[in-house]
């Protein structure tokens, strides 16, 4: 399995992946702090408000709902692009690798890249907060829990996106589908079954404690885990059974 994952990494050379890893978090942080500073009085209305948490909420508004699902979609499309372009699927499928491994290796690479995006978000978040001179203590444990769990929440999402990118040769179509489905997250917020919606799950997991839409955290994690298991099993099965399109 290790060779397969390294093979996927190797193929990303010169694909400008770092652009997504840096630009997306940077943009989210800029927009978030912009919003935070613009509405400072409203957001910091209570005496015990922590500025870090309030700023985080503003940042994840953009990032969790839109930028994260869209970047994971772009990353999924990127790991499939080189395969679509010059017969890469054909090449890989005629090598002695099981199809399940091909799919899972790609998923591992996408998820690792998303983790990098998450860490880069934290990095810019801290830099930004220091630059605007926030005096409150940094809520380390909250931030890392939020980043970690929202990362777990991208697993189902990425699996679906990877499957879409495999089936659809173009780069644009899965991306558009993805944007539309990301916009539906707003609807998921007003609905009880919203926590089952893979595009909404990451933003639920990122929300600051008092803003959270999650009633029971263990329940939420079980839902995430169960959806991921089902979706992954389906995707791997479909991928393994699919014939190569010409």
């Amino acid at each position: 399995m290790y060779e397969h994952i390294m093979f996927e990494w190797f193929k990303l050379k010169r694909q400008k992946i770092w652009l997504i890893v840096l630009i997306v978090p940077l943009l989210s942080v800029l927009l978030g702090y912009g919003n935070f500073l613009g509405n400072y009085e409203v957001l910091m209305d209570k005496a015990d408000d922590n500025a870090w948490l309030e700023a985080w909420t503003q940042i994840t508004l953009f990032y969790g709902i839109l930028f994260l699902p869209i970047s994971s979609g772009i990353l999924a499309a990127l790991v499939c692009r080189t395969e679509h372009l010059n017969g890469g699927w054909k090449l890989q499928l005629s090598l002695p690798i099981s199809k399940a491994r091909i799919f899972i290796s790609k998923l591992v690479v996408v998820l690792s890249l998303i983790l990098l995006v998450q860490l880069s978000l934290v990095f810019f978040f801290l830099i930004g907060g220091i630059m605007i001179d926030i005096q409150h203590s940094i809520p380390w444990s909250f931030i890392f829990t939020a980043v970690f769990f929202s990362w777990l929440c991208t697993f189902t999402l990425s699996t679906i996106q990877l499957w879409l990118s495999y089936r659809i040769k173009s780069f644009g179509i899965p991306l558009s589908i993805n944007i539309v489905l990301s916009l539906l997250v707003f609807a998921a917020y007003t609905n009880k079954i919203g926590i089952f919606y893979p595009w909404a799950q990451p933003s639920f997991a990122m929300a600051a404690p008092e803003e959270s839409a999650i009633e029971s955290f263990p329940m939420f994690i079980s839902v995430v885990f169960v959806t991921f298991t089902i979706i992954l099993a389906l995707a791997v099965l479909k991928f393994s059974r699919s014939s190569l399109k010409s």
Partner: protein
């Protein structure tokens, strides 16, 4: 002889059209098997099935004596292939393409890459991005990738596509060496018989999804030996007369008699016989046919009876 590839009733249908129709391919250890057919005959489709890239509608495939359906991974470990267009990663250099696959296949020997690059004549271009390769260079890289894992069976679908004459020559010489040097069995598809003729020892000809010929290349060459054509006023009765004498006579599309022998005495005997039967003899001539003529005849469904 051990069978390396064996298919039985291999069939592929797309919707209602049968693209490959009940073919039984047989390739033996050390063969260079030329798989011939005009455009759209079903060569690529067959090769895709042999590699498990698409599933047959019907029929069985055995490679190295094992069923492909149950042993795909084990079989693919020993197969190198190039299907239709060369596959590669355009964002990597030629060297990196081979390096990526070397790691994936866990080939320990790093020198293998330069060895392959030298074999396919890409050593000077190894650090160029493949997106800047010419068509022929990409084709060479594709062949290199197929050879990288030291396969026991090499399946090449039109490998000389896009190569210049020197390149074609090089690849041909390379392929010819493979069975004797490394014991590799080769299946190579093409739509040019003369190209196959220079390397293959066995030929399969596919047309409209049907395997219409499969035998040693000598058998095909024999068909191209010269024959005698006779034009008379009434070819049907001439044919009946000669057949009574136990002679094997066929008619071609121009209603001429065709005799697959050129023995002088026999021809003069036939001429005499026809004249005695009061038939008018217009012409007697020897026809020399190239392998390419034979191939065209076979695949355009004319004159099938003569062959």
């Amino acid at each position: 002889m051990t069978k390396i590839i064996e298919t039985s009733h291999l069939t592929k249908k797309y919707k209602n059209t049968t693209v490959v129709d009940e073919i039984n391919i047989s390739v033996e250890q050390g063969d260079i098997y030329g798989f011939l057919g005009p455009n759209g005959a079903g060569k690529t489709t067959t090769i895709r099935m042999l590699l498990g890239l698409i599933k047959p509608t019907k029929g069985d495939i055995k490679v190295f004596g094992k069923k492909l359906a149950d042993n795909r991974m084990a079989i693919l470990k020993e197969v190198g292939s190039l299907v239709e267009y060369p596959s590669f990663y355009a964002n990597l250099t030629g060297y990196e393409n081979l390096e990526a696959i070397r790691r994936l296949l866990r080939i320990e020997d790093k020198h293998r890459i330069n060895e392959i690059l030298r074999t396919v004549g890409l050593l000077n271009a190894k650090d160029k991005l493949v997106k800047n390769y010419s068509l022929g260079m990409k084709q060479r890289l594709g062949i290199g990738i197929a050879l990288l894992g030291s396969p026991n069976l090499l399946i090449l679908d039109e490998p000389t596509n896009g190569l210049d004459p020197a390149g074609i020559q090089e690849i041909r010489e390379l392929i010819k060496k493979l069975p004797s040097l490394y014991g590799i069995t080769v299946m190579i598809s093409s739509h040019i018989l003369s190209e196959i003729d220079q390397m293959a020892n066995k030929v399969g000809i596919i047309n409209n999804g049907n395997l219409i010929f499969q035998d040693r290349i000598e058998v095909l060459r024999k068909k191209s030996s010269p024959r005698i054509i006779i034009r008379v006023n009434d070819s049907e009765s001439a044919q009946t007369i000669l057949k009574k004498d136990g002679l094997n006579v066929a008619l071609n599309s121009k209603k001429e008699l065709v005799i697959n022998e050129i023995d002088d005495d026999l021809i003069s005997y036939i001429a005499e016989k026809l004249m005695m039967s009061r038939l008018s003899l217009y012409r007697i001539y020897e026809e020399k046919r190239s392998l390419e003529d034979i191939f065209l005849d076979l695949t355009t469904n004319k004159e099938r009876d003569i062959l």
